[in-house]
Symmetry: C2
Subunit: 205 residues, 2 copies
């Protein structure tokens, strides 16, 4: 029971931060969202909101480490793969009414200069994204695996900001049209045996 | 005098949001930052914080509409220009200790699902960025001026998020290395006569 209460608290906190950012979420909101009493929040997280938020960001962020590999995996041409990543992201954004899918980038920019503990937690998540993407692209024979991963993550994060604000998929589709041709004609090696990717994040929501 | 009080309020609000986001900034912070009494804030902005924030975002965002044109202007090769935009951004970020330069993207993601008035204000600013960049690149003979502009803005915004969080310029430099070669060898027409660009934003801080 203790474990599921803990998870309910973290899930509620991630969901609240996804919609409202960090500062606008109070402990009372997490009580309401999780169904756990306030005493239980402090029992599991003695340092309160900052501790809950840090663990919630790490949990939520980890689910996204395999997003790019999962979307790229069916492809054999790197340019087609890159363009399809942005096309899929655009489709998902439009289908959800331009919802924020992941609180990590959102909270990271909000607190980067004010809540060092959360900046460090967010940096850890982003470093894992970079490492996972680099390892995946390297395994498929991409020469600039690290640069490509950093660019894809940066461009997706920024295009999400523009698309959510404009309520328009244009920035995502434009990025796919610009970045796809950069890699068109570069073949991807077959996925290494033993690499098993989880179902796309979207299906587990 | 009334005009300068108004400007002091907007400047203080933009500066506070740049560092702390939207929700964490209170009217008391704007009083302290601007030196204007609380009555003066409500005299100039009867609807309070949301009205101040909306006007401050528009002011701060407008100063950035010419950032990309200004950085691109000295160049005659589009690929070199694109790479230099990211190199300059990386240099500026490192020189400022990874400060947030512009509150628009930061506040936009924080409030996109919760404060519709500010989402609309942010969307207006971003639409102006897209139009200014598109008009500039078109004037220099770039065929995909709109897609290039949307991609540059998205990638810069996202790379800023990663770089500020990681305290590392890698995402900006990686994006330059990926996007530069996409446009290498594409000549830029001379800047049209009569286009006068302001000094780079950095010099006016």
């Amino acid at each position: 029971m203790a474990r599921s209460t803990r998870e309910a608290i973290l899930t509620a906190a991630a969901e609240l931060m996804r919609v409202k950012g960090y500062a606008a979420v109070g402990m009372k909101d997490i009580v309401a969202g999780s169904g756990a009493p306030i005493g239980s929040l402090y029992h599991h997280f003695p340092r309160g909101k900052v501790q809950i938020a840090g663990e919630a960001l790490v949990n939520a962020g980890r689910a996204y480490a395999l997003l790019i590999p999962t979307l790229v995996n069916p492809h054999t041409d790197l340019g087609e793969a890159v363009e399809s990543v942005f096309a899929q992201a655009a489709q998902d954004m439009a289908a959800t009414g331009f919802a924020n899918m992941c609180p990590v980038g959102t909270v990271a920019v909000e607190i980067a200069d004010t809540v060092e503990e959360l900046r460090v937690a967010s940096a850890g998540v982003m470093a894992e994204w970079l490492e996972a993407g680099e390892a995946y692209f390297a395994s498929r024979g991409v020469a600039d695996a690290r640069d490509l991963t950093a660019t894809l993550i940066a461009t997706l994060e920024g295009a999400f900001v523009l698309a959510r604000t404009l309520r328009d998929t244009e920035p995502l589709l434009a990025a796919g049209r610009v970045l796809g041709p950069r890699y068109r004609g570069i073949p991807l090696l077959p996925s290494p045996a033993g690499v098993s990717l989880p179902a796309p994040v979207g299906t587990a929501r």
